[in-house]
């Protein structure tokens, strides 16, 4: 008997295996077509723009496009300790003349001034010489430019131009960590008193960490109570968790602004019980205290809900068994109950941490100067300084951090296990 006769055929005479594979493929395509509209929509409106953010954050083609002849000539500049050869000067002069015609020379001056302080002055001098037609193209351009200002005779300034040659730069990322590329090409740190970004990163981590910790210590007991109470009581108490969860973030922030202000309810209460005097009410808003209190209350439901859904599945007989085997209630809790809640703890903590690390609205309203986070800095550069490439760079640094945490979360708990209420 040959193997062919063994093969099972469908009614159409096609081998069953082939027919099944065909059906399988059809189902795959069907499933994919259902997902396709949303996937396509998100890729176009969301995933690509995040890629666009990356391009903006590293893009440094401005000077590259402005000085094509200069950079071409610089390939011949070998001894970097001496001034560049005549060709480089000529190339720069020709490029600069084009920019003057297009009236873009100011932009170049500002950009180079960022690279090396004092550049703006000497490009302006060059501009004036060109405007007055003082430069004779038939003789050495190098000598004429060098006469304009002594800085043109300083090799440091030519090296600064050379550094702007690559079309891509990591400068924005370095700036986000308070570092910069020094004139010798090494990476240096900005002065101690100007390291504002590092303070912000650390503060963001610190606030996110403590908010997570506070929410855990407050959320664990009530999740336990909700999971162990009889249904009719726990449903009622659940409203205390769900109502804030469904209420507008701004409404909750507003209520904390009212509570925490100097003439507010909390301060009134402190004065009433004699904790503080009426004339020196403490500042609880526009500083870290405000951020901590408001963010903890706002994010607490995100801790309670995953904990609750895990605790709900733990059978109460396990605790009874632990106790009947001789454990005290504490031992039974610690050795039996607590380990079973670890998936919920992981989910809740990582959820709160991820949300807290990117918080913007609440810190901006109740945080003041000492309670703002990295998100506020990103918004500041988007809306006020309009340094979009720097905002993009910091956004992507934050995103990388969040994705690492999300990846850990996925490994530990699995994204599919996210439960909403």
């Amino acid at each position: 008997m040959s193997s062919e006769t063994k093969q099972i055929l469908t009614t159409d005479g096609i081998p069953l295996e082939v027919s099944l594979k065909k059906a399988e493929k059809k189902n795959k395509i069907k499933a994919f077509l259902l997902v396709a509209p949303l996937l396509l929509f998100l890729v176009i409106t969301y995933i690509f723009p995040i890629g666009d953010m990356f391009m903006r954050s590293v893009d440094d083609r401005m000077v590259t496009n402005m000085l094509p002849k200069t950079f071409k000539a610089m390939e011949k500049w070998e001894n970097l300790e001496e001034l560049p050869p005549e060709e480089v000067y000529r190339g720069f002069y020709e490029d600069y003349k084009v920019l003057v015609e297009k009236q873009e020379h100011g932009k170049l001056g500002q950009r180079l001034n960022k690279e090396k302080n004092g550049f703006n002055t000497i490009t302006k001098r060059l501009f004036r010489q060109i405007k007055r037609n003082k430069i004779d193209e038939s003789i050495s351009i190098k000598e004429q430019i060098n006469k304009i200002h002594k800085r043109w005779r300083n090799v440091e300034f030519w090296l600064a131009i050379k550094r702007t040659a690559p079309p891509y730069t990591m400068a924005k990322y370095l700036k986000g960590m308070d570092m910069y590329v020094a004139s010798d090409g090494s990476i240096a740190q900005v002065e101690q008193d100007r390291r504002i970004h590092r303070i912000l990163w650390l503060r963001t981590l610190e606030i996110a960490f403590f908010v997570t910790l506070f929410s855990f210590f407050m959320g664990y007991p009530i999740a336990h109570l909700l999971a162990t109470l009889p249904m009719k009581y726990s449903n009622l108490l659940m409203i205390c968790v769900l109502l804030p969860f469904w209420t507008s973030l701004l409404v909750r922030t507003a209520s904390w602004m009212i509570l925490l202000q100097q003439q507010g309810v909390v301060n009134d209460f402190f004065v009433m019980i004699g904790l503080v005097g009426d004339d020196n009410r403490p500042e609880m808003m526009y500083n870290k205290v405000g951020t901590y209190v408001a963010m903890t209350q706002i994010l607490l439901p995100f801790m309670v809900l995953p904990l609750y859904s895990v605790m709900k599945t733990i059978s109460p007989s396990l605790m009874r068994a632990g106790k009947s085997l001789g454990g005290t209630p504490f031992v039974a809790f610690w050795k039996v109950y607590f380990p079973l809640t670890i998936p919920g703890i992981g989910a809740g903590c990582l959820l709160v941490f991820i949300l807290a690390i990117g918080y913007y609205i609440t810190p901006a309203l109740v945080g003041g100067a000492s309670g703002t986070l990295i998100s506020n800095q990103i918004a500041f550069h988007m809306k006020t300084t309009l340094d979009w490439s720097f905002a993009s760079a910091m956004g992507l640094m934050l995103l990388t951090g969040v994705l690492v945490i999300y990846w850990i979360y996925n490994k530990l708990v699995g994204v599919d296990n996210i439960k909403l209420g």
């Binding site: 189902n27 949303l38 409106t45 205390c240 769900l242 804030p244 991820i354 309203l365 999300y406």
Partner: protein, 284 residues
């Protein structure tokens, strides 16, 4: 939760400490919302409890801030409310359609690259809003949709779909696929099967996902702050500006209305959740 009579004293004490902590936390969660109610009826212009209010003097209370909210000449709340509702309704419809279709595809066991696609689809929920805001703003600016209703609706669809995908996928996890096969074997076409069989069964999940999408859009402020022009102002934007600049009690009147709205949404969401659990045969 009554303790058994044989409980030792020290555990009894622990138990009461535990209950006290719980009471405190519940108070911490819910009390801030209730500060807003009385202050929104304040007759004075300040956001503190006046002496009259503390003595429950009827003259200290008034509806002036509610009147100001509705009839105030310079108040933008009317336009903001109209915009908020229009944007939220369209964003919800968009999220429900795209999200439900995707969830149906994702819960098919034939779906290739399920993990990767799921991660992509729910990424707008995980990525911090400020980053979503920047990215979406870049897209809308290039597409010429900045400062338009369409742009904001699209942005809110991006933010709202993950909720629909998650809730509908969860509903479908308990879904018995043999009923659709039964319908097909009885001669029903796929669209008819979906409308008559699948949709009614997953409807609680779809609606509760829709509620999430609605609330997300209705409360969203970070992305709108980047996208909205003067014409597209929404309630959250007005609240944000108000809280930053002139903290007036009118905001509290608006906040009270918003709390009432969220109570309504909470009740509907809870009813839906219970119905869905009953349908899935989960009994507690």
């Amino acid at each position: 939760m009554a303790l058994p009579s044989y409980t030792e004293t020290r555990y009894r004490i622990w138990h009461y400490i535990y209950l006290t902590i719980c009471t405190f936390v519940f108070f911490f969660l819910i009390a801030p919302l209730f500060v807003i109610f009385p202050l929104s009826f304040n007759a004075e212009e300040f956001l503190v409890f006046s002496e009259g209010m503390k003595n429950l003097d009827p003259d200290a209370f008034s509806l002036r801030w509610y009147k100001d909210m509705i009839y105030g000449t310079k108040n933008p709340w009317g336009l903001a409310a109209k915009n908020s509702f229009i944007i939220a309704i369209f964003a919800t419809i968009g999220s429900i359609i795209l999200g439900t279709l995707a969830a149906l595809g994702l819960s098919s066991r034939h779906m290739p690259y399920k993990g990767l696609i799921m991660a992509t689809l729910i990424s707008p929920m995980i990525v911090p809003l400020i980053i979503s805001g920047v990215a979406i703003f870049f897209f809308m600016a290039k597409a010429g949709l900045a400062a338009t209703h369409t742009g904001i609706v699209l942005a809110h669809i991006i933010l709202g779909t993950p909720f629909v995908v998650i809730t509908v996928t969860a509903t479908l996890s308990g879904f018995d696929h043999s009923v659709t096969r039964a319908a097909a074997s009885l001669g029903s076409n796929p669209v008819n099967t979906f409308m008559k069989i699948t949709l009614p069964l997953i409807l609680p999940g779809v609606i509760s996902g829709g509620l999430f999408a609605f609330v997300t859009s209705f409360d969203e402020v970070v992305v709108v702050l980047f996208l909205a022009g003067l014409e597209n102002t929404t309630i959250p934007i007005q609240m944000w500006t108000g809280l930053r600049e002139q903290l007036s009690p009118t905001i509290l009147a608006v906040a009270t209305c918003l709390i009432l709205l969220s109570t309504l949404i909470l009740i509907s969401a809870e009813l839906l959740r219970r119905r869905s659990e009953r349908l899935r045969g989960i009994n507690r």
